[in-house]
């Protein structure tokens, strides 16, 4: 076939051309569907005057702080719960009852406690990112080769070095998977909190652009958010491949 591997670009290209033509001839309402060329210009301007980059930095900063906190909490609880079935039986049901509370339901609460700003957003992101890490950590720790734990027992390793030498290295590869999931969640929740009410970052920029009837800027920021999300994801999988693969026992990674 002549089109070959460029077929994937066909539909988007046709849509963009139709969009441009439709907007130029006034078929499409200009107050919602600004022309693709205007969108590019608006995005370029926002990029040059630094507002887009500042918003991106704000969003990623809060997302990363929340992710770091959430991952640590999830890992610590997960390791203890994973190592002890008794502990799991006792606190598991409580965790299961809290977990279905959607993170965004905490937005009003976080706002009440901290007011607008970085801290309330971090609180919501932390809550949201705990769960994937927690769940994966529990199953990773439980999947550790029992003989390794027996070795630790035989050597009478103290708890801390047992954690550091045996449990963490054995479970790290799978915990990293949970952290990757959480990283995606962190970005989504950050943008969501900003769209709903926190006046900072990319989400706020979008909602303000929409409310001040600058649809071209809003579309440009939407594209940018998509791009930023994609770049973030790619970066994470690069990190994963570069540094974390070595912890994966070759092929022995069951399930």
């Amino acid at each position: 076939m002549k089109l070959g591997r460029y077929r994937g670009a066909l539909i988007p290209l046709v849509l963009i051309v139709l969009w441009e033509l439709g907007a130029a001839t006034g078929v499409l309402p200009p107050d919602t569907m600004s022309r693709p060329s205007e969108i590019v210009v608006a995005g370029w301007d926002a990029l040059l005057d630094g507002s887009l980059l500042l918003a991106t930095a704000q969003t990623f900063q809060t997302a990363l702080i929340g992710l770091a906190l959430g991952s640590c909490i999830g890992m610590v609880i997960g390791i203890f719960v994973g190592l002890s079935p008794i502990l799991e039986g006792i606190i598991g049901p409580t965790l299961d009852t809290v977990r279905p509370i959607p993170a965004v339901a905490l937005i009003p609460l976080a706002l009440l406690i901290y007011g607008f700003g970085v801290r309330m957003e971090v609180l919501v992101i932390t809550y949201a990112t705990v769960w994937p890490v927690l769940i994966v950590t529990i199953s990773a720790v439980r999947g550790i080769e029992p003989r390794l734990l027996e070795v630790a027992q035989t050597l009478e390793m103290p708890t801390f070095s047992r954690m550091r030498r045996i449990v963490l290295p054995a479970a790290l590869a799978r915990i990293a998977v949970g952290i990757r999931v959480s990283a995606g969640v962190a970005l989504v929740v950050a943008v969501t909190v900003e769209i709903v009410l926190n006046p900072q970052g990319l989400g706020y920029g979008m909602i303000i652009a929409a409310q001040s009837l600058r649809p071209e800027l809003m579309w440009a920021e939407l594209l940018w958010v998509g791009f930023a999300g994609w770049a973030f994801n790619t970066l994470l999988s690069l990190i994963d491949r570069r540094w974390l693969r070595r912890y994966q026992p070759g092929g022995a990674e069951g399930r």
Binding site: T32, I90, W219, G226
Partner: protein, 256 residues
Amino acid sequence: MISRRGILLKIGAVIFAAAVIYLWQLAADARLISPVFFPSPTRTWGAFLAMEERGDVWWPMASTALRMFYGWVLASLAGIVLGGAIARSGPVRAYLEPLLEFLRPLPASAIIPPAILFLGLTSKMAVTVIAFGALWPVLLGAYHGFRSVPPQLVEMAAAMRMKSMAFIWKVALPNALPDIFAGVRVSLAIALILAVVTEMQAAQTGLGFNILMAQRSFRSPELYAGTIVLGILGFFTNYALVRAEKHLLRWRTLTR
């Protein structure tokens, strides 16, 4: 022996939950944190009862659940059809995959601003956003499920000259169901989240809007009660789906 251990653990779990609530009460009574932010469980329960009496629990819950349900059903249907089409047809995959790959990492809430521009602050907007966000897990699940039809089954269907519709209906879809269910469950959680977000953003009646209002007027007991009710909604919808999955997939345990 095992069952006795199980019972002991259950008792332990109840005691732990009770202890958490008790500590919450103690901390609130001792005013470790200002009661403006941190009402005690008894005040929260009182607020819940008051809300219930005013009819501020079940109606908002129903409207949140309904919007979430519509969006989720739309997303599930679209996700299964699209996922199946992309998985079983080369041309569809070649044309659509890059576009979908671009849309997928987009945070679902990021389409709220354009959705508001198009549809205004309406229920339709909320359902659209919910459907968009909840689409991806189902789509991915369906894609995996339809892709992973065992080659023996494909060959067998070819040998029996099954029509392609019959193949999809009798072989591919049942094979994909477990994966679809996994996706649908994730979608349900996302749908609840987006239902709450769109309510907060678009002032639609519902639990999300109510807790935001409670916050704005510093009625923290109502805020806590509303948040917990949302959690209960999430818990039971997920539970219902797990039961449905067990029921619909019971042939799986029989055949294996």
